[in-house]
């Protein structure tokens, strides 16, 4: 599979200002030096606690935020250096699905207008052709064409999310960044929407960057999964491998916190993480996870581990495995 997106040493620092003169007094390191690739046609899951920088990463890819440093290559184009005009063209190929289906649709527009707008913006088709495409798309996502005249508030959460998905598909993008697309929905609706996303991926040959905090949701849809902690990627590998044999202590802890739907099985509560995620304005020295890590060593407090390929296709940032390699 060829590479669609390549992210290298991406950083996003939000300045903290304060004092009388609004001087910069620090940085929030929302995304701190991450690198990964997204292959054509795959689903890359991105998981992590809130505040770990998942959504920021998604928004950096779309240039909704400006990167502080690093590079993003999308189809041989350097996203961070595109002009305003080129960014507009980029957004035809790259679309975003939002977490909150209630806030992401303009309450004053009918569904028809919401879906037609991307086509108008990118000057696609005549008025009749656009209406036709809209009617086709609303059926693709499992709604009916008589829904088009309605307003967003007349739909349920699941239906609204389908509208949001339809909107993202209107320009026939290559990459879809799904920013927690199901976390605002009921569990029963979640799997419906996930299945829809899978079907659409097959039908339209889509590539997904799937951002979520729910590990079981990510497992259901992803080919590969990256785990983020405090703005850094700590582990990235195939979905199967990650769930079967996690290497990073943080991934282990996360997986042990996934509820098991079987009352007979005792939860492995001794692995559950203690403490809170540290502030991204003042991340710990060395490995960012060392304050909560059960396998913390001296070196972890001083040196930040590199994000290295331990096995083919299995990347980890942890000193535990660097030691292994040396011996």
């Amino acid at each position: 599979m060829s590479t669609l997106v390549e992210v290298k040493n991406l950083k996003k620092y939000f300045p903290i200002t304060g004092g009388v003169l609004d001087r910069k007094i620090g940085d929030i390191k929302a995304v701190d030096n991450i690198s990964f690739t997204i292959r054509k046609g795959e689903t890359l899951g991105l998981v992590g606690e809130s505040g770990s920088g998942k959504s920021t990463t998604g928004r950096l890819l779309l240039r909704l935020l400006e990167a502080t440093d690093g590079s993003i290559t999308f189809e041989e184009k350097e996203v961070t250096k595109l002009s305003t005009k080129e960014v507009k063209a980029l957004r035809e190929d790259m679309q975003l699905i939002f977490q909150d289906p209630f806030a992401s649709l303009n309450p004053r527009h009918t569904v028809e207008k919401i879906l037609e707008e991307p086509l108008i913006v990118h000057k696609k088709g005549t008025k009749e052709e656009r209406k036709k495409m809209v009617r086709k798309m609303i059926e693709v996502v499992g709604l009916d064409s008589y829904h088009l005249k309605r307003y967003p508030h007349q739909f349920s959460g699941g239906q609204r999310q389908r509208i949001g998905i339809a909107r993202a598909l209107m320009t026939q993008p290559k990459l879809i960044i799904a920013d927690e697309p199901v976390s605002a929905l009921d569990v029963s609706i979640q799997s419906q929407v996930l299945n829809l996303l899978k079907d659409l991926q097959e039908e339209f040959k889509l590539t997904y960057l799937f951002i979520a905090h729910d590990l079981s949701v990510v497992r259901q849809i992803s080919d590969r999964v990256g785990v983020m902690y405090l703005g850094t990627l700590v582990e990235l590998t195939d979905a199967e491998k990650l769930y079967e044999k996690p290497l990073h202590p943080y991934t282990e802890a996360l997986l042990s916190a996934v509820p098991i739907p079987d009352p007979e099985v005792k939860s492995q509560s001794e692995d559950v993480l203690g403490g809170e995620i540290p502030s991204p304005s003042n991340p710990p020295k060395g490995c960012v996870f060392h304050t909560r890590c059960k396998a913390c060593m001296e070196i972890c407090k001083k040196v930040r581990p590199e994000f290295k390929e331990m096995e083919p296709g299995h990347y980890v940032a942890c000193h535990l495995y660097e030691e292994d390699m040396q011996h």
Binding site: A89, S104, R108, P118, Y146, K149, Q154
Partner: protein, 297 residues
């Protein structure tokens, strides 16, 4: 033959109740009795203003010196003033001028204020700082004092009074729409619009302004009431309408000296001001209740 079949096919489409945000607002406005009374009063005065020439029993400036200070009677329903002019005719003519000045001034300040407010709220940074500080300075003056100052610079007449009141109201609308734009701009559907690749101009005209406009409509209705009072106040101070022009404030000013002798000269224009203002206020309150999404159940 095919007609009944067609009717059946169309039925589900017809049953579909389209409830747009505007229609919802209208529906809840209709239920508000007091607001409807206000609307009725407003429509009544607008009607009078439009058909003033047809409704006036006398020329408003016609002087019948023999009939000076006549009390209300069947020939002069509202009585006559110190020059023997018919007060009913003058109140009717005054409605035309007062309402027109009120409307024009408010529409002017809505246009200018919204433009400045949208620019300040949307673009932020130094543009926002400059515009907001100008608004702050203007709001630091008592509005009538600022209006007097502006008229003093431009020269006292009705048109300048209108301009003064429009200027005085600009920061009111500017601030209102700025704050609304600031909150709407952070909504996720604006990020969505941006993610689609929409230009700032289209985001502003298609998404931000339509979602920011409802408080302006409410405030606009209420501001017309204030503007009518302000015009009357300026005219009363001799800074608005100059003879032979007239408006309600000017009528009050003219009859000030004879109030004890002939109270009807003041009572009727005063009542007209009060009723119009009341009408606009009731209507504005009703609109606010109908349009404020927070008030919705």
């Amino acid at each position: 033959m095919s007609q009944p079949a067609q009717a059946k096919v169309n039925q589900p489409m017809k049953k579909e109740k389209v409830s747009s945000p505007w229609r919802d607002a209208w529906r809840s406005f209709k239920k508000n009795k007091i607001a409807l009374v206000g609307t009725f009063i407003v429509i009544f005065f607008i009607f009078i203003a439009i058909f003033a020439p047809l409704l006036m029993p006398y020329e408003p400036n016609e002087q019948i010196l023999l009939d000076r200070f006549e009390a209300p009677s069947s020939t002069h329903w509202f009585g006559t003033d110190d020059f023997g002019r018919d007060i009913l005719s003058r109140v009717i003519m005054g409605a035309r001028i007062s309402l027109m000045v009120g409307f024009t001034a408010v529409i002017g300040s809505i246009i200018v204020g919204s433009l400045l407010g949208v620019v300040a709220g949307f673009y932020g940074r130094w543009i926002d700082t400059i515009i907001s500080r100008i608004f702050d300075i203007m709001l630091a003056f008592p509005s009538i004092l600022l209006a007097i100052a502006i008229v003093a610079i431009l020269g006292p007449d009705l048109q300048n009074a209108l301009i003064a009141i429009a200027i005085v109201n600009v920061p009111l609308f500017g601030r209102l729409i700025r704050s609304k734009v600031l909150s709407v701009k952070e909504e996720e559907y604006i990020t969505a619009a941006r993610a689609i690749g929409m230009s700032n101009f289209r985001i502003l005209t298609h998404h931000i302004i339509p979602n920011s406009i409802s408080p302006v409509i409410v405030q606009g209705t209420l501001a017309i009431a204030t503007a009518i009072i302000e015009v009357a106040a300026l005219s009363f101070l001799g800074l608005g309408a100059q003879s032979p022009d007239l408006d309600w404030g000017k009528m009050l000013d003219d009859s000030r000296a004879y109030f004890v002798q002939a109270p009807w000269t003041m009572i009727f224009p005063g009542l007209a001001i009060m009723l119009t203002v009341l009408g606009f206020n009731l209507m504005g309150d009703g609109l606010r209740d109908a349009m404020d999404p927070k008030m919705k159940q």
